[in-house]
Every structure is written in structure tokens, then in C-alpha cells.
Amino acid sequence: MNCDRVFELLAGGDPGSPPGEGSLAASEQRALAVHLMRCPQCRQLEQELAPALELFKAALDEERCAPHDTLPNWQPMAGSQSSIEHAEPASNLPWFETAPQVERPTRSNARRPFARDFNISPPLPWWRVAAALLLGFVLAGIAQNQQQAPRNSADNLLVRANIGTPGDVVSLAGGPIAPLPECVSQAALGLSASRVCCTMCHHADGATATRPATKAPVTSTLLASCIVCHTR
């Protein structure tokens, strides 16, 4: 006999038999007594549980002595019945569902008491999490586009600066930019020659026209020359 079995015997004995010493078989009673003599922990457990077990035994004796099917009414104490606070919503009650309760998977059921006991709201359903992530991605995309807007403006400036050199303009973003229409190029060429403008360099003398090697000088040149005037 091990300690587990001792607890089973102490806590009501075998099912179907009323709790108490008289309900055990003689051999099992002897084994229980021997184990209790040898095991101090079980002995302590027996002493610890004795008042509760005696109360159960006394209460069951009262019922046996009472007339058949007689039980007094008693009122559960206000505030002492914890089942009101811990009860599940009525929609979760499974007694009308198809499968018997013992057959149901218990993973979701097992999570509920934890959330209940610690006053934690239940986990969000997956579709809410997915929708929130999707919304986050969309907002992040919009924000990124807004950050790229100045870069696109710089590309526009570059296009304007390269009026007359269609087809081979490289944008700051790295990709090719569509050339401006010819009429726009002509209009740019007709601007006042007194202004220092890169358009003049590009078109007055094809040999001296220098292509910017890097993007940074191009930008600084543009800001220093034609862009300031042309975009006003």
C-alpha cells in the first residue's frame, strides 16, 4: 500500500461504500494501519483531515437516521457561495451539445479556470489578431509612402534639371525616370540666359556638359541654381 492509496482510503474509501473505518475490508484495514504506523506523513495527514472526515461521517449518519427523502432547507450564505462569481456564462454550458462532456477535448476548457481565477480576459481570437496585423501593415505602408514623398520631389527636381537630356536621367531612388515632353524642354531652353542654370550647360555645349557622377553633387547643384528659380 502506498501513500496515494492511503489518502484514497482516508478520503471516503472505495466508491459505493460510506466513509469510515467500517467500510474497509479487514485485510485493507490492516494494511492501512501498518502503513500509518510506518509513514509519519500519512499519519500527519490522517490527523489533519480527521475533523473534516468526522463531520462528513456525522452528517451522513444524520441523513441515514432521518425519515426517507427528508432533507431540511438551508440557505447558502450571501457572499460565501463562490459559484456565483466563478460560474461560466450560460452560453458555455455544454449539456445540450452533441458529445458527452467526458468525450470533449479539454484544452479550451482547461484554459478557462486560469483566466477566471486570475481575472484575466480570455485570449483574443486569431482573426482579430490577423486583422490587427493587417491594419498595422497598411498603416506602416502609408507612413512609408509619406516619408518617400520628399525623395520623389527630389526626383522631380532632377528631372527638371535634366531637361533636354531625355531618356538617361537617373533618379535618386535608383530607377529610370520618364523623360519630360519636348515642349517643356524647349520652354526651359527659352529661359533667361542671365540666370545660372544647369540647363544651359547641358544644352549649350554638348561636349562640356558634364553628367553628375554622384547624386549628392547633383542635388547641391540643383539647389544652388535653376531649381530655386524654376520652381517658384
Binding site: A50, W95, F96, R104
Partner: protein, 195 residues
């Protein structure tokens, strides 16, 4: 139950006869009213009969009917709680605080039963139910585990914790009153927050 599923519905009366008394005992322990307990037991049997086609042959009818009863008890408290919880918490004053639990004036011959029920009601729901199933329903620990949808170890722990708390409450209660009372007395205070 298999015979009932095959159309011998009159055999269901045998099941009712076999399980009615322990079911009613546990329901009474939960609700405190014999009439209410009988209604709930009847409702449990009706529910089992209505959904008899969903019962799996390899399942245990004993644990199934106990599960139905416990769920009905819970639902009763939900309904009762909904009815009573009409006043918002913010509008409650000190005068609305729950009174300290008192052992009701003992009926002659039922002193131990009333004390036990009062103490069971002060336990956490799971521990109280495990003790009721074990001592009033005569269920094995395995059946308690199946009925309460928990593991065998959890079922044993619930019974052990419940008994320990009951014993501690009894000791605490007996220390504060004359030793000759033998669980009797009127207006005795039961510890509200058990250790």
C-alpha cells in the same frame, strides 16, 4: 443507456431510480432547497433523455449525468446572480456589504449537516464540488476527474485541499467556542476566508 438509445425508452426509468437519490443529495447541497434540487435533478434527467442520441456508447453515463447536474447548478447560480445583480457596484454602499456568514440556527437532528453545508458553501466551487461528488455522490477519483473535466491528480488535490480547509475551519471554529458545544450552537461565526 445503450438500450435506451436502441429504443427501449422505458429502461431509462432504471437509470433514474439508480441515480436520483445521490444526484438530489448533491444538488441539495449546492442549492440549499430540496424542491429546487428535485427540479434540477428532473431537468438533468430530461436533458440526458433528450440528448440520448448524442451519448457515445463507450462513455460513462454516471459521469455524464453528474456533469449535466453540475452544469445546471452553475446555470442556476448564473440566473440567480443575474437577477440579484441589478444594482451597479458603484452604487453600493457599506450597508450593502455581505453579512458575515453565520451558521443558521440548527434544526434538531441536523446540526452536523447544516454545519457541513455551510462550510462546503464557503469553499471554492471546485473543491466543494469535488467533496460533494466524493462523499455524497460516492464517485471514485477517476469519475470525479471525468465529471469535472480535469486530471486524476487534480481531482485528488481538490478533495485533499477541500478536506484540509474544512478541517482547518473546524479547528478554528472550535478554538473560539466552548469545547462542549460539539458543533452545535446558534449564530456561530464561520471563518469567511479560509486559510
Amino acid at each position: 443507456m445503450r438500450a435506451v438509445q436502441q429504443g427501449h425508452t422505458e429502461r431509462f426509468a432504471l437509470l433514474v431510480e439508480r441515480y436520483e437519490r445521490p444526484l438530489r443529495r448533491v444538488a441539495w447541497s449546492r442549492l440549499g432547497s430540496l424542491e429546487l434540487a428535485e427540479d434540477l435533478v428532473q431537468e438533468a434527467f430530461l436533458a440526458a433523455f433528450k440528448s440520448r442520441h448524442t451519448f457515445k456508447p463507450d462513455a460513462n453515463f454516471r459521469t455524464w449525468i453528474w456533469t449535466i447536474l453540475l452544469n445546471l447548478c452553475r446555470r442556476h447560480f448564473v440566473r440567480q446572480g443575474n437577477r440579484e445583480a441589478q444594482v451597479p457596484w458603484s452604487q453600493l454602499g457599506p450597508e450593502d456589504a455581505a453579512p458575515e456568514p453565520q451558521v443558521p440556527s440548527a434544526l434538531p437532528g441536523w446540526e452536523n449537516t447544516e454545519l457541513l453545508e455551510t462550510l462546503l458553501a464557503s469553499l471554492p466551487e471546485t473543491q466543494g464540488d469535488a467533496l460533494r461528488l466524493r462523499f455524497f455522490g460516492q464517485l471514485s477519483f477517476q469519475e470525479i476527474a471525468e465529471t469535472m473535466s480535469c486530471s486524476l491528480g487534480t481531482a485528488k488535490n481538490r478533495v485533499k485541499a477541500g478536506l484540509t480547509q474544512l478541517a482547518a475551519a473546524l479547528r478554528q471554529s472550535s478554538e473560539g467556542r466552548p469545547a462542549s458545544a460539539n458543533h452545535r450552537g446558534q449564530g456561530r461565526t464561520v471563518p469567511r476566508n479560509l486559510p
